[in-house]
C-alpha cells in the first residue's frame, strides 16, 4: 500500500468531479432539493380539508354544527350549495374532499333530543386521506353529541355528569406529529445512498468504457490503492452532504436533533462505507455505465427509498417483505438516524444496528476488492 499513489488517484477523481457539472450538481443541489421537497412539499399531515355544505335545514342548530367544522384548523369551508348534484361536480373537479349534508329537520330533531342523521360524502380516491378526514368528522360528531347530551341533562335540573373515561394523550419524540420530523432524518440516509451507490457506481466502469482503465492497469498501481483512492473523494463528498443535510434539517426545518452529533457522524461514516462498497462492486461488475446506473437504482437507491422505513413503516409490510428488509443496510441506518435525531438515543440503544452495519461494511469492502480484476476483460 503506497499512500502517495492512492492520493494520486484520489486527486484525479476530485478533478473529474470538479470538471463534471452533472456530478457536481448531484452532489450539491440534490441534497438541497430533496430536503426542500420533503420538508415543504411532501407531507402526510391532513389539514385544511376543503369541504362544502348542503344545508336543507338552515336553522340556528344546523349553523352551530357547521361552525364546528369551519372553525377547526382541519377543515376549510368552501361555501354552501343548494343542489345535491353540485356535490358530484365539486368532487369530480377536485374542488372539495368532503361534503356535509344536513336534512331539513336537523335542528328540530336535535332539539327534541332524537337522533339526527347527517350525511358525509368523502372523496375516497386517496384512501389514506379519506380515513383521516373520517376520523376528524367522527371526533367532531362525538364532541357535539356529548355536548348536547350534557346540555339535556343540565336542563333536566341535574348536575353535569363526569364522563366515565377521558383519554389524555401525550405524544413523545414528534410532539406535533409533523411529517417533516419523520422524513428529514430518513432523508439523510437517502442522500448518502445516492452519493455512495449512484455516483460511486460509475467510477470504475467509466474508466473501462473510456479505455483509460487499460492504461491504468498497465501501471504498477495496486488494487487496494485504486479502490481507496477512488473511494476517498466520494467518502468526503458523502460527509459534506451529511453535514449539509443535518444543518438544513436543524436550521431550515427546525427538526430536533436530540442525540449526539458526534455519534451521528461516526455511525454515518460506517454506513457510508457500506454504501460506497456497494457502489464500487456495482461499478466493477457492470459492463457499461448505463447498466451500472440501473443496477445502482434498483439495488441501491430504491430499497433505501422504499424498504428502509424512510417512507413506509416496516411493521406494516407483509411478513416476507419485512424479512427482506433485514438484509438491506439502509434499514439499520434509517433507524439509527431517526433514533438519534428524535429520541436522542445513545450508543447503548444502537449497538446492535451498528454491529450489523460494521459487518456489512467489512463484507462489502471484501466483495468490492474481489470483484475488481486488474486484467482486461
Amino acid at each position: 500500500m503506497n499512500l502517495p499513489r492512492a492520493w494520486a488517484i484520489a486527486r484525479k477523481e476530485f478533478l473529474h468531479i470538479y470538471r463534471d457539472p452533472r456530478s457536481l450538481g448531484l452532489v450539491i443541489l440534490m441534497p438541497a432539493i430533496l430536503m426542500l421537497l420533503f420538508g415543504y412539499a411532501v407531507t402526510l399531515d391532513v389539514k385544511k380539508v376543503r369541504m362544502t355544505v348542503l344545508n336543507y335545514d338552515g336553522a340556528q342548530e344546523s349553523l352551530s354544527f357547521i361552525y364546528r367544522f369551519s372553525g377547526s384548523p382541519y377543515f376549510q369551508l368552501n361555501g354552501f350549495i343548494q343542489d345535491e348534484k353540485e356535490v358530484r361536480r365539486l368532487i369530480d373537479e377536485g374542488t372539495i374532499k368532503m361534503a356535509l349534508v344536513l336534512p331539513n329537520d336537523f335542528s328540530q330533531t336535535v332539539k327534541s333530543g332524537k337522533k339526527a342523521p347527517v350525511q358525509v360524502i368523502l372523496d375516497g380516491s386517496d384512501s389514506n386521506t379519506a380515513n383521516i378526514i373520517l376520523s376528524y368528522v367522527q371526533a367532531i360528531a362525538r364532541d357535539y353529541t356529548q355536548e348536547k347530551t350534557f346540555l339535556k341533562i343540565e336542563r333536566m335540573g341535574r348536575k353535569r355528569p363526569d364522563p366515565p373515561l377521558e383519554g389524555r394523550t401525550r405524544i413523545w419524540f414528534n410532539e406535533d406529529l409533523e411529517s417533516k420530523n419523520y422524513f428529514i432524518p430518513g432523508l439523510v440516509a437517502v442522500i448518502i445512498s445516492i452519493i455512495g451507490v449512484l455516483l460511486t457506481g460509475q467510477v470504475i466502469v467509466r474508466e473501462w468504457e473510456k479505455g483509460s482503465m487499460e492504461l491504468l492497469i498497465s501501471t504498477p498501481v495496486r488494487k487496494s490503492e485504486l479502490i481507496i483512492g477512488k473511494l476517498f473523494p466520494y467518502f468526503f463528498l458523502g460527509l459534506l452532504d451529511l453535514i449539509l443535510a443535518v444543518l438544513m434539517g436543524r436550521l431550515v426545518f427546525d427538526v430536533p436533533l436530540r442525540g449526539s452529533v458526534g455519534l451521528l457522524l461516526l455511525l454515518s461514516c460506517i454506513y457510508m462505507i457500506v454504501a460506497l462498497a456497494m457502489g464500487l462492486t456495482i461499478s466493477a461488475v457492470a459492463g457499461t455505465q448505463l447498466l451500472a446506473n440501473q443496477m445502482a437504482m434498483i439495488i441501491g437507491f430504491l430499497p433505501t427509498f422504499l424498504l428502509s422505513g424512510f417512507t413506509f413503516v416496516i411493521s406494516n409490510m407483509p411478513l416476507w417483505l419485512q424479512i427482506i428488509t433485514y438484509g438491506i443496510a439502509p434499514r439499520y441506518y434509517v433507524s439509527i438516524v431517526k433514533e438519534i435525531f428524535l429520541k436522542g438515543s445513545d450508543f447503548s440503544f444502537l449497538w446492535k444496528e451498528t454491529l450489523v452495519l460494521i459487518g456489512m461494511g467489512l463484507l462489502g469492502v471484501m466483495v468490492a476488492t474481489r470483484s475488481f480484476k486488474k486484467e482486461l476483460r
Binding site: 503506497n2 502517495p4 499513489r5 492520493w7 494520486a8 488517484i9 486527486r11 484525479k12 478533478l15 473529474h16 470538471r19 463534471d20 473510456k210 479505455g211 483509460s212 482503465m213 487499460e214 492504461l215 491504468l216 492497469i217 498497465s218 501501471t219 504498477p220 498501481v221 486484467e375 482486461l376
Partner: protein, 310 residues
C-alpha cells in the same frame, strides 16, 4: 545480456477464436522491434499479454527479465505502455495528466516536477501545459501519451499503433521521438500497419492471423522473400495486360502498382524474355521494363498471398 522480450509458444484464445497462435520471437535490448500486420492479426493481443494486461492461454515468456505469467506486476514497473485507443483523461489538462501518471509510478515532490518539465520539453508541449487534453489535435495527444508512458524512465516501451489516425507530419515527428528514445537505450516494441513505418525499425515480425509469418530486418525480409526482385512493366492498355500475364504459367504474382505492373516470376524463369514474347502476341504496347528493389509492401503482399494459398 538477456533479451528485452523473449517468448516461446505463446497462445491466446478467446472462446474458440485463436487470436495468437504459437508465436515465438526475441527482442534485443535497445532495438526498435515492430509487429506489422493487418487489423485483427493479433498485434494488440500480443502486446497486451507482454504488458501483463492479459494472461496467455499457454506458452511462456520473459519481459525485462521477469516471467510474464508469474510476475506481471514487476514487469509493469519497468515498462511503459501506450494503448491503441487514446486513453489519457480528456477532462484533465496536459500537466495534470503527466502529474497523475507520475504519481501512479511513485514519483513525487521535486523529482516528479523535474520529470514533468523534462517530458513537456521533449514532447514540445510546454506552452500547452494548461490546455484541456480533450482540445488537443490527435498528433499532440499521442505525443502526450508517449510522454506519460516515459515519465518513469522505463526500460521497454510498448506502443500499440501509436500513429493510427495521425497526419503524416505528426507521424514523422513521432518517429523522431522514438529514434531519440532508442538512442537513450530504451527498447521500443511497436505495432503498426503502415508499411513505411516498418522501414524505420531494426527488426520486424510480420503477423497474420495470429501467426508470425516472417521475421527479420527489413532488408533481410526483402532479400529472403523476393531475392530476384520485382519486374516493373509499363504497358498500354494496362488491365488487359494484367489479365494476360496472370494466366501465364511462369508468373507467380502480378499486380497493378501505380501506372505499371509488378511481376514476380517463378523459380528459374527468364521473366523479361517471357513477358516480351507474350505481350507481342497480344495488341499490347510494351513501353518499358525495369528490375526494381521490392518494397516492404511487396514483401508483405507476397507473403500473405502465399499464406492464403496454403
Amino acid at each position: 545480456m538477456t533479451y528485452a522480450v523473449a517468448v516461446e509458444d505463446l497462445v491466446k484464445t478467446f472462446d474458440h477464436f485463436v487470436a495468437v497462435d504459437h508465436i515465438h520471437f526475441q527482442v534485443n535490448r535497445g532495438e526498435i522491434f515492430c509487429f506489422l500486420g493487418p487489423n485483427g492479426a493479433g498485434k494488440s493481443t500480443t502486446i497486451r499479454m507482454l504488458c501483463g494486461l492479459l494472461m496467455p492461454t499457454s506458452g511462456k515468456g520473459n519481459v525485462a527479465g521477469y516471467d510474464m505469467v508469474k510476475e506481471p506486476e514487476r514487469i509493469k514497473q519497468v515498462i511503459g505502455y501506450m494503448s491503441q485507443k487514446f486513453s489519457l483523461y480528456d477532462d484533465l489538462t496536459v500537466q495534470e495528466n503527466l502529474h497523475f501518471f507520475g504519481g501512479i509510478y511513485g514519483l513525487s515532490g521535486k523529482r516528479l516536477r523535474e520529470r514533468e518539465e523534462e517530458a513537456l520539453e521533449k514532447a514540445n508541449l510546454r506552452e500547452l501545459r494548461n490546455r484541456m487534453t480533450r482540445t488537443l489535435p490527435v498528433g499532440w495527444k499521442q505525443r502526450l501519451a508517449l510522454a506519460c508512458a516515459l515519465l518513469h524512465q522505463p526500460e521497454i516501451v510498448f506502443l500499440d499503433e501509436p500513429t493510427s489516425g495521425v497526419d503524416p507530419i505528426s507521424r514523422r515527428d513521432f518517429w523522431r521521438l522514438i529514434q531519440e528514445m532508442v538512442e537513450r537505450g530504451i527498447t521500443v516494441f511497436v505495432t503498426t500497419h503502415y508499411m513505411d513505418e516498418a522501414e524505420y525499425c531494426h527488426r520486424l515480425a510480420l503477423i497474420y492471423r495470429g501467426k508470425i509469418i516472417a521475421l527479420g530486418t527489413p532488408t533481410e525480409l526483402k532479400m529472403k522473400t523476393l531475392s530476384k526482385g520485382i519486374l516493373e512493366v509499363s504497358c498500354d492498355p494496362l488491365i488487359p495486360a494484367l489479365e494476360v500475364l496472370k494466366k501465364a504459367t511462369w508468373i507467380s504474382e502480378a499486380a497493378v502498382f501505380g501506372d505499371g505492373l509488378h511481376l514476380i516470376g517463378k523459380e528459374g524463369v527468364d521473366l523479361e524474355q517471357e513477358v516480351q514474347t507474350l505481350l507481342t502476341t497480344h495488341p499490347i504496347h510494351l513501353k518499358r521494363m525495369e528490375w526494381i528493389r521490392p518494397s516492404l509492401e511487396d514483401v508483405f503482399v507476397s507473403l500473405i498471398e502465399k499464406e492464403n494459398d496454403r
